[in-house]
């Protein structure tokens, strides 16, 4: 009886997590004890804010873009559907790195040109200075690229969410006289978003990892600082250990929050 309970307790332990936390503690202890690790920690930590800013801003913007695209994709109005599908398929077919290069070196000059064209009267009146591609620093371009890329992924999540809502809910709303937009906002979206909340949260973890790509533009995030530090000190092993440590702290803790969220939603809906 007691043995069984002990066995159940042991088999219930998430050993992968114990291992990771253990390694994390060892890594941290070593780092604090070792002078060179301490220096690397301090250096790489300076990129933490940039990584988080890039991830959070891109994520927030891509949620907005994704919601718009997702609504357009499941709209009854065909041109909207076609345009959003075109965009989503195009972007999803490109590697994120290529999107990043494309926005940074093709998109930014094009955007400057468009803005100059649109705001020409104001610029000639001296209200603004004329835009050039330098008006957008690389961090801005990186955020724009991640937003455009993740907007397409998140749009598909929203679409799946909207489609997961039972057709009967929409019919009931229509039968009560609700308009299409009232039905969407008050009946469909609250249920759709709830259904895809874990998937949306997972995209945040993914965007944190993909934010490392901005280092190719020289943006001073964790990866870029690590890369530069390692190249100048030749401490590749220690530096990339620290870089990996930072990312893992973020991603694993967030993944666990997502799981907790999933469990809570499941419990609520089975009550």
């Amino acid at each position: 009886m007691k043995d069984k309970r002990v066995a159940a307790a042991i088999s219930g332990v998430p050993w992968w997590l114990v291992l990771i936390v253990g390694l994390g503690v060892i890594a941290l202890a070593t780092a604090l004890a070792d002078e060179s690790y301490r220096v690397i920690f301090g250096a790489v930590a300076r990129g933490f804010g940039v990584t988080m800013t890039v991830a959070v801003v891109s994520y927030a913007a891509s949620l907005v873009l994704g919601l718009g695209l997702g609504l357009a994709r499941s709209s009854g109005f065909r041109p909207l559907r076609e345009v959003s599908t075109f965009y989503i398929e195009l972007v999803r077919g490109l590697p994120m790195l290529v999107i990043l290069y494309y926005i940074a070196f093709v998109g930014a000059p094009a955007l400057a040109g468009i803005l100059n064209g649109l705001l020409a009267p104001l610029i000639s009146a001296g209200v603004f200075k004329a835009f050039s591609s330098r008006s957008f620093d690389f961090a801005t371009r990186a955020v724009l690229a991640l937003t455009l890329g993740y907007g397409a992924f998140i749009a598909e999540i929203f679409r799946a969410g909207i489609e997961s809502v039972d057709r009967g809910q929409v019919e009931a709303a229509y039968a009560l006289g609700l308009s299409h937009s009232q039905t969407m906002v008050r009946v469909v979206l609250p249920q759709a978003i709830r259904n895809v909340l874990p998937a949306l949260a997972n995209e945040f973890v993914a965007i944190i990892k993909d934010s490392a790509l901005v280092s190719v533009l020289g943006v001073q995030d964790i990866t870029q600082i690590g890369k530069v530090y390692a190249a100048s000190t030749f401490k590749f092993f220690e530096t990339y250990n620290v870089v990996a440590f930072f990312y893992l702290c973020l991603t694993i803790s967030l993944s666990m929050l997502v799981r907790a969220l999933e469990r809570r939603l499941k419990r609520e809906s089975s009550q």
Partner: protein, 254 residues
């Protein structure tokens, strides 16, 4: 004085998404020229085998389905006009569904008070008060703050009826309201419906509940293959059907 709900030569085809569906070859004629009048305060029961078009007919009255041709009127409002005022039509004719379709993310109280607030712009406090009164009428006063999934099927369907009633409809459309219910819950829903019939509500009911037919229906309409085959008072139609097809069908459900 013309009837309250008037259906004239209603025709509706569905194209099924089978082979040839894209070419419009696989089509099903759901309504094949249906003409029907429902008087104010009348309770009309529509029966017929599955695929006979009875649900399609009902869903055409509040324009959840659009007819291919024919006309439907509710009072002075055309349902089938190209620029029909859908909001007004749906305020006039409430609907109760087979699978309840209560809004899953809202409490019962919010389910009932949502449409009055959004569509009729009733102030929240007033809508709430009215919703409580209606829920009391269907015997759900103790379930106001529950979510649909926490209720039994019979309770959910009574809440769905309350939700439709909250819009003060002039007519109610019931699409197989008891088909998804366990036998012991059917009575509580039929009791609510019979009460509404006695209060003079105009009702179109797609159902095979003989008990309800006898207790509350003024007329029974038998449909088959998109057409009305026969109609009459419940006792006459059930005991002495004129048409062979009606006789066959009634033998099967009795």
């Amino acid at each position: 004085m013309s009837a309250f709900i008037r259906i004239r030569d209603a025709v509706k085809t569905f194209s099924t998404r089978g082979r040839g569906g894209a070419l419009g070859l696989d089509t099903v004629l759901a309504l094949d020229g249906v003409t029907l009048d429902v008087e104010r305060g009348e309770v009309v029961l529509i029966i017929g085998p599955s695929g006979s078009g009875k649900s399609t007919l009902l869903r055409s009255v509040n324009r959840l389905e659009s007819l291919d041709s024919g006309e439907i009127w509710i009072g002075d409002d055309s349902v089938t006009a190209r620029r029909a005022d859908l909001r007004r039509i749906r305020e006039d004719a409430g609907m109760v569904f087979q699978s309840f379709n209560l809004f899953a993310h809202m409490t019962i109280l919010d389910n009932v008070s949502l449409a009055p607030r959004l569509v009729r712009k009733v102030p929240a406090a007033q809508a709430r008060e009215a919703a409580v009164a209606i829920l009391e009428r269907v015997g759900l006063l103790d379930k106001l703050d529950r979510y649909p999934r926490q209720l039994s099927g019979g309770q959910q369907q009574r809440a769905a009826i309350a939700r439709a009633l909250a819009m003060n409809p002039k007519a109610l459309l019931f699409d197989e309201p008891t088909s998804a219910l366990d036998p012991e819950m059917i009575k509580e829903v039929l009791d609510v419906m019979t009460g509404l019939a006695e209060d003079g509500m105009t009702m179109m009911v797609v159902s095979h509940e003989m008990g309800f037919a006898r207790a509350a229906a003024d007329r029974v309409v038998f449909m088959d293959r998109g057409r009305i085959v026969e109609q009459g008072k419940p006792e006459e139609l059930f005991s002495d059907p004129k048409e062979e097809r009606t006789r066959d069908f009634i033998r099967h459900i009795l």
